[in-house]
Symmetry: C2
Subunit: 410 residues, 2 copies
């Protein structure tokens, strides 16, 4: 039997992947920055708020004037005026005075605190009673308390969520530096593969991997350039790879990466100028016949042709790598959500390889249980029936029923 | 003090939201169907595989011929030919015969099992030795075993992930029925609010909510139509709402929903034809001044103007509701990822309202701990510093340090 050329462990794969450079930083409009990773420290161009603002509806006062105020002995203050939203107040609050202020209103000169409207009451035409004392700064958001000019408000490497978009909007930052999204070429190979829009002749099958892996690439923030399937022909294959490499950041191939007669991928990739093969074979199941290489600075993933294996390898290695290229940390766990569950039946595994066992989540006495989904190699329906998979470590011989496991959700 | 008109509990809000109809179903190209919810049961148009296929590289045989084969007494079989990928084999495997077959190759007539290449060896010019017996069907994916014609392969309501996209590709289904994505109008209101591209005059502030809530709507699969901020003027407000309602599925407003002098939202929304107010005030903190209404069949969310409150209310109620409109179940927990953590310090809460306390995740002796992020009301930076929030139930008075809590990640 022919052998794989350079079998490596999953840990070695991740070490190799860390050797690739992240993508360049580009500038995008604020409303397009969601879920992108910040590509530079962003500093505040101004003080937020620019002047002290009230955080409550009530009366702006001098805190010292309210000392000793209580329900039984309220403090009486003259109302000097009212603060209007959207304007810098023209009034000044002198000793013994107060000014009506809405939430968000800027504090008038002289005032240093706000008494909530609940603790005030009318006292004639132009005066109020205060029944609680306040300390200086109470119910006030001080100048620059939210962000001071020059402060780093969002550090490089932070993934931008709605609240970061909001903070940037508040600071008037309408263009944001973010890591570029990787553009991936997807090429399925195999004499038997036809595009999904074709009617397969007897013996042929439709291209599954281009579409399932494209979906996974998009879910990980990447962009996709689709190519028609390529037959098992070294000349056509080389031609397709060269064309794809010229227009994308990463090449994702499927099929032809094993050690059979029709498996030309290793030879063709190796023959490209500046090609380096990092792995031909990974100690995992499913997914062993995986090729990881670089051509110049561009990464090349050669996934197994088998749709189930291709998708599992893509979720375990490709998706975290795509997120890494976009500025995130390279996570050595499969991308996506993870839940804790009790293993519903024991699973076996061979030592010396990492096993990915597909499981369905069930409820058992109110607690989530993970039931292994068995099915023949090649059954795509087992993947659709499963909710996710568990990872059996490389040195494990299996796991007994009842063990607590992390389930990585698809 | 003026009062809210119709304060309801979070449970009542979700009951109201369930009264809205889901959006209509549309048909989209397969490659655009990722993360959409299937809008009809999808049945298989054909058998997958159409004929039995090998799941291994090896030799197609009649299982009965291999009975008793072992390393010491191998069975000898004549090689009748080789199966070529991409073709229906022309050869027939008769008694005492075998045919070379690659993974995925269709089984020749006569054969009912495949012996893995590892358990075969050459025996002269046109014969092989078999050292292990196989049973009928072994290493073979039977006709229609993955999907039978007419079977429901993807049920209505299923969210489409890469593996479902792959299965649909395999079946040649290139257009997919999915629920429509909601189009939301976002309108911030307030005399002090200017568009983010303007330089605010003294006393004015930039529109934060349109951008942070737009990001959240997009993260929940919705589309956004942005409107310029509207001042606190009932006539202008009504005009903006009418215009927006004509072109979107859901109206998301912020500001003006409380009970102050400048809060016109309740009155203006109520005055629209076929308007019903479901909630004016929710027993939560932050976010009490929230308005939930419908105008005809279109839902209206009036979020608090306060950016932190608006974002929390949107994550707790709006995001799950947007997913519901797109065909998912209405989840009564905040949208997004959830992790378990130990509360690092005690938190207090008022009975009779549900409290959302922002927390930062830390590691404590290797276990995740949730540390409450305190900060003045109105500080957007507290939201950026937090990783998520915990929910204090409506009847709780707080939670002690050391309690295990669910943290809903932003």
């Amino acid at each position: 039997m022919p052998e794989f050329f350079k079998v490596v462990t999953p840990v070695q794969v991740f070490e190799t992947l860390l050797g690739f450079n992240r993508l360049a930083v580009e500038t995008v409009p604020l409303d397009d920055a969601l879920h992108r990773v910040c590509g530079a420290d962003i500093t505040s161009p101004e003080d937020l708020p620019p002047l002290p603002r009230s955080t409550m509806d009530g009366y702006a006062v001098r805190a010292a004037d309210t000392f000793g105020a209580s329900d039984s002995i309220p403090t009486l203050l003259d109302v000097a005026g009212a603060v209007t939203m959207g304007q810098i107040p023209g009034i000044t609050v002198g000793p013994g005075q107060a000014a009506a202020i809405p939430t968000g209103g800027f504090l008038p000169l002289g005032a240093d605190a706000v008494v909530m409207v609940e603790y005030t009451g009318p006292a004639g035409e132009s005066a109020i009673e205060i029944s609680r004392p306040v300390t200086a700064g109470e119910n006030v958001l001080g100048k620059a308390e939210d962000a001071a000019r020059g402060d780093i408000v969002i550090p490089i490497g932070k993934r931008l969520l709605p609240q970061e978009i909001g903070l940037l909007a508040g600071l008037g930052i309408t263009r944001v530096p973010v890591y570029r999204r990787p553009k991936a070429a997807l090429i399925s190979t195999g004499d038997e593969i036809v595009p999904v829009t074709d009617t397969p002749q007897p013996g042929m099958i439709r291209d599954i991997n281009s579409h399932s892996i494209a979906a996974l690439v998009r879910a990980a923030g990447g962009e996709v350039e689709m190519f028609d399937p390529v037959p098992d022909d070294p000349v056509l294959l080389r031609c397709a790879l060269e064309r794809a490499l010229s227009s994308v950041d990463i090449l994702v191939l499927s099929g032809g990466s094993s050690v059979g007669e029709r498996d030309h991928m290793l030879r063709v990739v190796s023959s490209l100028p500046s090609a380096v093969v990092h792995a031909h074979g990974i100690a995992i199941s499913p997914g062993k016949p995986t090729l990881i290489a670089s051509v110049g600075e561009k990464p090349v993933f050669g996934l197994p042709g088998h749709p189930v294996s291709a998708l599992v390898v893509a979720q375990v290695f490709l998706a975290p790598f795509l997120l890494y290229l976009q500025g995130q940390e390279l996570k050595r766990t499969p991308a996506g959500m993870r839940v804790s569950a009790v293993l519903a039946s024991s699973v076996h595994s061979a030592q010396g390889r990492e096993d990915y066992v597909r499981v369905k989540l069930e409820k058992r006495q109110g607690f989530p249980a993970a039931r292994p989904v068995f099915g023949k190699s090649g059954m795509l329906s087992t993947l659709v029936k499963a909710d996710g998979f568990i990872v059996l470590p490389i040195h494990a011989e299996g796991l007994p029923a009842g063990e607590t496991v992390d389930v990585f959700l698809f």
